[in-house]
Structures are given as C-alpha cells and as structure tokens.
C-alpha cells in the first residue's frame, strides 16, 4: 500500500518536473551494431530529422553526434532527451579493413579518425544520464568491449538498457544475450525495420521513472 502511494506520488512529481528536464541519453556499443540506425529512427519519429549517416563500412560515426530536445511521448508520458550517438568502441583499428570500400589514403584517414572517435566516446561516458548499449544480436555477446562498457556504466551508477538489435535476422540469438547479461533489462528490436519499438519505448520510460 505504502509502495503504491509512494509510486503514485513519484509519478506526479516526475510528470510535473522531469518532463521539462533534458535527459542526456547516450547510444554506446561496438562498431556496426546499429547505434546510428536506432538514433536515426528515434530522431526521425519525434523530430522528423535523422541524426547520423549510416553505412555498411565500420566506423561510419567518428564523432559524437548530438540531437537536442528530442521530446518523446509514450502512453501519456513525456520525456525530453538530448540524444548522443557515439562512435563504436573497439580495441583494434586497421586501415586495411577499409580498403575494400575506399582508396588507401581515405582508409588511413578513416582509421585515424576512428581511433579518435573511440577515445571521444569513452570521455563522454561520465556526462550521460542514461545509456542504451546497442548490441548486434547475431554476434557472440561475450566480447570484452561489451563487458567493459556495461561494467563501467554499472560502476558509475549510470542506468543502462541493453538493446539487442537486428532481431529480424536469422542468426539473431536473444537467449544467448540474456544469459550473458542476466541482471540487465534487454529489449529486442530491429532498428532498421522498426520492429519492437513499442517495447523499447516502454523500457526507456521505465529507465527514467
């Protein structure tokens, strides 16, 4: 009973004040997991404009891109976000991996910018009020980059929502992801096709309740 009353009062307080406050929401994860596709979908849905360019070439996002005042309305509630799409975090970058997409000079430049992007992403971690860790659900989740990102967020007490992307693909394995991070809330989506977005917004609003 007391819990219900407390929750009710919290909800009223939240609706009165929190809807005006801007929440810094970061999208983190390894390269090519779909961070930019998801941030574009959110921004397009609520502002009509996309945030980042998307490409099959890894490390397409090499700077932190921010969209301010993205007001999301969901089931009678409203939240105001500053959305930060960050470069993918990696432990290795080899310009030769880009050679099938571009010439040597461009590949070297891209690799140089990508290394700076990783450093920038990590620097921004402390500024976030909440983080969406976007993971490719078709890949092995036990990568050290995933473990390091999620562990660091937990250590800094930053709320985390794990977004398992690309669930429309045959190789997608949600169960494996859930067994890798059993203590976290995980939502499955396809950012490209828009599948699971309603459940995603439910989880996003729960994160800041």
């Amino acid at each position: 009973m007391i819990k219900t009353i407390r929750r009710y009062l919290q909800d009223i307080f939240f609706q009165l004040f929190n809807s005006k406050k801007k929440i810094k929401l970061g999208l983190y994860g390894p390269p090519n997991s779909g961070k930019s596709t998801l941030s574009n979908r959110i921004c397009k849905d609520w502002t009509g404009e996309e945030l980042s360019s998307v490409s099959k070439v890894p490390h397409e996002t090499r700077n932190v891109n921010i969209k301010e005042s993205v007001i999301i309305k969901h089931k009678g509630k409203e939240l105001n976000f500053n959305i930060a799409d960050t470069p993918g975090i990696a432990t290795k970058i080899d310009y030769e991996d880009f050679l099938k997409y571009m010439n040597k000079g461009e590949a070297k430049q891209r690799a140089k910018e990508a290394t700076k992007g990783v450093i920038e992403s990590i620097r921004w971690l402390d500024d976030m009020d909440g983080v969406l860790v976007v993971l490719d659900s078709t890949l092995n989740p036990y990568s050290q980059v995933n473990i390091t990102i999620i562990g660091n967020l937990a250590a800094r007490n930053i709320p985390v929502l794990i977004v398992a992307n690309k669930i429309d693909l045959k190789k997608s394995n949600m169960k494996k992801l859930q067994s890798a991070f059993p203590q976290y809330n995980i939502v499955g989506i396809s950012a490209e096709k828009g599948t699971g977005m309603d459940v995603f917004y439910d989880a996003l609003f729960k994160m800041f309740r």
């Binding site: 290795k92 970058i93 990590i122 660091n152």
Partner: protein, 130 residues
C-alpha cells in the same frame, strides 16, 4: 612462433594505473601475448582501450583482450563479503586476463568459460584447406 608472457599479479600490484597499462602495452607491442593473473579494474580497462587507440600506428593495430573469472552467482553472502574484502585489500587476483596484439591474434572468443584464441596463421590454414 607465439610467445606467451605470464604476468603475476604481484608484478603489477604496486604499480599505478598508468604504469600498469604501460607495462602491459609494452609487452603486447613487442608482439607477445600477455597472460595476466587477475584482472584490471573496470576504469583501467577503459583506460587501456583509450591508450591503445592513442598508440595505434602503422606497426601497431591494437589489441585483442579477454578476461575470465569465476562467477559469484552461487556463492553464499558471507563468502561473497569475505571475498570482496580480500579483493579490496589485495586486489583482484581472481581469474585471468589475456591481451594479444591484433596483428597476431585475430580474435579471442569467450563462450562463456571456454577461451578460443584465433591467430592469423589459423585463418590462413583454414582458407588453404578450403
């Protein structure tokens, strides 16, 4: 030939974060694979990634890293508290950290208690067989 260099926790215990990371990166830059007792602190792991990115050059493409450590899920509360206390006092000696140069180690797979280390020679053999 692959060289695995064992780094006992006692070797990094007295070092600060910068010194620890420098020591580990120096070994990896010499194309050796680090087998370290225990694991770095979480903040040190992110610093290691940042320092690795700073160090990337024509000859150094980055690292592959993997940590394995015993899960505490089944442990009783009292044992957990005792373990945490020893961790705070003595550092995190549980488990093992493997760090290899990306030019030698293509991938380290942890799944979840088994480690598979793939080198570039393995990949070349596989493609030859095909």
């Amino acid at each position: 030939m692959l060289t695995l260099q064992f780094v006992p926790y006692s070797e990094i215990e007295s070092l600060n974060t910068d010194e620890r990371i420098k020591k580990l990166l120096d070994i990896v830059k010499n194309k050796n694979i680090v087998l370290m007792q225990g694991r770095l602190k979480l903040a040190e792991e992110t610093r290691l990634i940042q320092e690795t990115m700073e160090a990337i050059s024509k000859d150094f493409k980055g690292i592959e890293i993997c940590t394995v450590y015993p899960e505490d899920k089944e442990m009783e509360a009292v044992r957990k508290i005792r373990k945490e206390f020893f961790r705070l006092v003595l550092g995190n000696r549980d488990g093992m950290t493997i760090i290899g140069p990306a030019s030698v180690v293509k991938e380290i797979k942890r799944d979840p208690n088994k480690i598979q280390l793939f080198t570039f020679k393995d990949s070349a053999k596989k493609s030859k067989r095909r």
